[in-house]
């Protein structure tokens, strides 16, 4: 059997432990899919695979146990699904690119969740359109609020939807539900002074809990959709770590441009002698300030946006001597 392994894996098929079998990967940007595609996915699994699908952590489907020689048939079949997901930019008879920049996953967002500050699938879709397809290995996820159910903090780019709460003192009855809740559950950004609530903008993380707790509508949402962007979180075999905040109160255009510029940054600095140098390690190698300068080039952040002066990532190194007994 002869296949071009690189083309195959780039185009949504996996190398598996069974030499003549592959596994189809289906992206679902934003993790929300119309059920009309279920019969299609089912028929591929039944007709070409083993009648099962795996739900991936990045919210795609993997259809296992497919013969390599069926790839072209399957590519033709899944074309409508790929097109309707808006992933047809690079579609060809070999399938569509699924490696490199990974599926942009999203929590359920405000289509369902009361805590979500935005429609995360919409945000994911928009980002997908701005960056996909690309060979560089970027992991991006969108979460509706700082509860971070999608684990944005484990991504190269984690987008946390936030809102800047607006306080109307004329509707406030000083029940302190907002400030009590913020102190117990969030960052304690709200305090009571002379029966009014004062919000410490530096402490506020824009989760919107105060708005949800308010019984009179004294707290409402800001007009603008804003985001916190956390960057360079990762797992892997060297230095797993959580992402750190790079932008606060940034708008969609700003975060989109920063992600797009990061592709250029990677292209400029990636060590091509390595198999696949991951962005986080490039940033580590080049330093945060170089990264910051390059990704902000040409970006005019919205006036509310705040940018991290410096970032020190934590995590741990597997090769450190950790004491165990």
């Amino acid at each position: 059997m002869s296949i071009n392994r690189k083309t195959v894996t780039k185009n949504a098929y996996r190398i598996t432990k069974t030499r003549d079998k592959t596994c189809l990967r289906i992206r679902v940007p934003g993790g929300h899919l119309e059920t009309r595609f279920f019969p299609l996915i089912q028929s591929i699994a039944d007709d070409y695979g083993n009648g099962t699908v795996h739900l991936t952590t990045r919210q795609g489907f993997e259809v296992p146990d497919i013969d390599f020689d069926k790839m072209q048939d399957i590519n033709a079949k899944i074309r409508p699904l790929i097109e309707s997901l808006g992933l047809d930019m690079a579609i060809g008879e070999n399938g569509y690119p699924a490696a490199g920049t990974r599926n942009i996953s999203a929590c359920i967002g405000n289509r369902v969740c009361p805590f979500a500050n935005d429609d995360t699938t919409r945000v994911a879709d928009n980002l997908e359109k701005a960056v996909y397809p690309h060979d560089f290995h970027f992991k991006i996820a969108v979460t509706g609020c700082p509860n971070d159910c999608i684990k944005a903090h484990m991504q190269d780019f984690g987008i946390i939807c936030v809102t800047e709460p607006q306080y109307d003192p004329s509707r406030c009855i000083t029940c302190e539900a907002c400030s009590d809740n913020c102190r117990k559950k969030v960052t304690g950004a709200l305090s009571v002074r002379d029966f009014n609530i004062e919000r410490d903008h530096e402490k506020c993380i824009g989760c919107g809990e105060c708005i949800l707790k308010c019984p009179t509508g004294a707290w409402t949402r800001g007009d603008k959709k804003l985001y916190r962007m956390v960057i360079m979180g990762r797992t892997g075999k060297k230095n797993p770590r959580i992402a750190m905040p790079f932008l606060k109160w940034a708008d969609e255009e700003t975060i989109t441009q920063v992600i797009q510029n990061t592709y250029r940054f990677v292209d400029n600095y990636i060590d091509r002698s390595l198999a696949k140098e991951h962005i986080g390690y490039i940033v580590d190698r080049m330093g945060f300030q170089v990264f910051k300068k390059e990704v902000l080039e040409g970006v005019v952040p919205n006036k509310e946006a705040q940018i991290a002066e410096n970032i020190t990532w934590g995590g741990y190194w597997y090769n450190q001597n950790l004491e165990f007994k």
């Binding site: 405000n110 009361p114 009855i173 308010c214 019984p215 509508g217």
Partner: protein, 338 residues
């Protein structure tokens, strides 16, 4: 007196009203719902009848238009008391019959309970005229018919929005503006909803005994209610308030006394200086409210306070149904009586 305005005349009538009145009605406040990308229906000033939202119940009642959430009573400049003034322009408020009946309850508390008249309520209330919007369908949580508040006749004017026209029944001549003059009278009898999906039987007053106060019914609410106060702040008849004094300038010589809505469900309502609190458990708070709405007020004033608008059911984050609570209470009253 009945009138009919054609579709293209409606807003002329409104614009004539607007010359003399602020006109408030339920409107959708875009993006102002608690959840993201949602609006909230609340009272706001309108410039066109097209602004009005009638296919959803307003989240907050119209009471805030003339009984503000927060109202400055006076300011103090050292020992001098400066009384506040209000906008002199009168108001027209569009309400449903249940809410109009609710306003009568507020009037009773503020104007008739005790010897004193609440002058702050009175000065705003005197400026309000009510245009009642015919309501024959209601919503899933309404129980106005059970509370006898589906019908209200003490309106200044009544409206029916029909396909292509607006019918008016004007009682207060001040609301008969230019466009209505010399217009032939139209036959318009306001119709009322006669049956709700939800039916409620409040226990007869004589059946509300100490046994009901001590009943286990309330312990269920101790575990369910989170004492957020939404039932109170959305209620058309909740009238309670608390005084607040603040210094409004840095020199500390200009002070302000205001009153703000109070909620019997929110902690602190019955706290006394020194710390004693009469109703700590949330079930006790639920009992206090329930009794006020369907028993105590009736004993004092001859009709139930609750008008069955059902907003408390709509807004409760714990899905506690007040109508269900009343029915449970009645059931228990029956059992206790046997």
């Amino acid at each position: 007196m009945g009138f009919r305005l054609a579709e293209n005349e409606k807003d002329r009538y409104l614009s004539e009203l607007l010359q003399s009145y602020h006109v408030f009605a339920p409107v959708a406040k875009a993006g102002k719902g608690a959840f993201s990308d949602t609006d909230v229906v609340g009272y706001g000033e309108i410039e066109s009848f097209g602004d009005i939202v009638l296919d959803r119940k307003s989240h907050f009642s119209p009471k805030e238009v003339f009984y503000p959430v927060r109202e400055t009573l006076f300011q103090f400049l050292k020992d001098e008391v400066l009384e506040t003034t209000i906008d002199e322009k009168p108001l027209v408020v569009l309400v449903r019959p249940c809410d109009l009946n609710g306003v009568r309850r507020l009037d009773t508390i503020f104007l008739k309970n005790g010897q004193e008249v609440d002058t702050y309520y009175e000065r705003r209330r005197k400026k309000v005229k009510f245009l009642m919007v015919e309501c024959t369908e209601g919503f899933d949580t309404c129980f106005c018919v059970s509370m006898g508040s589906n019908v209200a006749t003490d309106y200044d004017g009544a409206l029916r929005f029909e396909e292509g026209s607006l019918l008016l029944d004007i009682k207060d001549p001040a609301l008969a503006t230019e466009i209505l003059r010399d217009r032939p009278e139209a036959d318009f009898q306001v119709e009322y909803i006669r049956e709700n999906k939800v039916k409620v039987d409040a226990p007869p007053l004589e059946a509300v005994t100490k046994d009901l106060f001590d009943h286990d019914l309330w312990t269920e609410y101790t575990s369910r209610c989170i004492a957020c106060g939404r039932c109170n702040t959305s209620c058309i008849t909740c009238s309670c308030f608390t005084m607040q004094d603040v210094q409004v300038n840095d020199e500390k010589n200009l002070g302000e006394r205001r009153r703000v809505w109070a909620s019997c469900h929110i902690d602190g309502y019955s706290d006394m200086a020194g710390g004693h609190n009469f109703r700590k458990k949330h079930g006790e708070k639920m009992r206090f409210k329930t009794m006020h709405k369907v028993n105590d007020y009736h004993r004092r004033f001859g009709e139930h306070m609750c008008v069955g608008c059902g907003r408390c059911d709509d807004v409760c984050p714990e899905y506690i149904s007040f109508s269900k609570c009343i029915n449970k209470l009645n059931q228990i009253a029956k059992e206790v009586a046997q």
